[in-house]
């Protein structure tokens, strides 16, 4: 943190404070440092063995606003269940329970 303040300080806050020893950047609100929550596969965790294609509301969690299937890098689903999720979403789309293409789904 200290390195970044030192390099950034002369550029931005120096004119405002008029220079001097106190050229540290201060934030009014504490900056939120992204803490990456541990991802987990919800199917493994809760012991869900079968993913229903008829439950479009549940499958909505695995697609983005455009109706595209989210990658498992984002949802944390394991490989085994990602396959089943994608299969279920595709079946659901076929039966017009979910759209193939959408805009502002959520």
């Amino acid at each position: 943190m200290s390195e970044t303040t030192n390099t950034a300080a002369p550029a931005a806050p120096a004119p405002a404070t008029g220079g001097g020893a106190n050229n540290e950047i201060r934030y009014l609100t504490p900056i939120s440092i992204e803490t990456t929550k541990e991802k987990y596969c919800r199917f493994k965790k809760f012991g869900i063995k079968y993913i229903d294609y008829k439950d479009a509301d549940f499958l909505l969690r695995f697609v983005n606003e455009q109706g595209k299937i989210l990658p498992r890098r984002l949802t944390g689903t394991s490989q085994k269940y990602q396959k089943k999720v994608s299969q279920a979403v595709k079946r659901s789309r076929h039966l017009a329970l979910m759209p193939y293409v959408a805009d502002m789904m959520k």
Partner: protein, 137 residues
């Protein structure tokens, strides 16, 4: 050799109630004739489609779960394709997890139906939930 299958079909919304019933019984009879044993059936009624199919924006959904011969599926699907009243269909072979899930779901559905009949607060809560959810529950 038999497998458990689940088949869902969507009928056009232009049919009258009697015609819809007739079509449903036609396919049920077809399953029975094909030496299939109907385990469960569900009518989801008229639902809005997520996207238009054959320029129709709604359809009548019906689900049949049955034990049957794999060779029969071809006949069933040919019949679906021939019938103009069917706008979409899906047949899935069920694995053991799917069967287990379907049985649980059946219990839940029958339980939910009883609960709705008894409890007065159910209708008040229902509109807030999403449409699909209401139909499924």
């Amino acid at each position: 050799m038999t497998n458990r299958y689940e088949t869902v079909f969507i009928l056009t919304p232009v049919l009258s109630e009697d015609q819809t019933k007739e079509t449903v019984t036609k396919f049920k009879d077809l399953v029975k004739k094909g030496r299939g044993k109907i385990r469960h059936e569900e009518s989801w009624g008229m639902r809005k489609l997520a996207y238009p199919i054959q320029k129709k924006s709604s359809g009548f959904y019906h689900l049949i779960e049955f034990d049957g011969d794999p060779a029969f599926i071809d006949k069933l699907e040919t019949e679906y394709r021939r019938d103009e009243r069917v706008i979409r269909f899906l047949t899935v072979a069920m694995d053991k997890h799917h069967i287990e899930f379907a049985e649980k779901r059946r219990d839940r559905r029958s339980g939910a139906a009883d609960g709705a009949a008894e409890a007065g607060d159910k209708p008040a809560r229902a509109p807030r939930r999403k449409k699909e959810n209401v139909d499924n529950a």
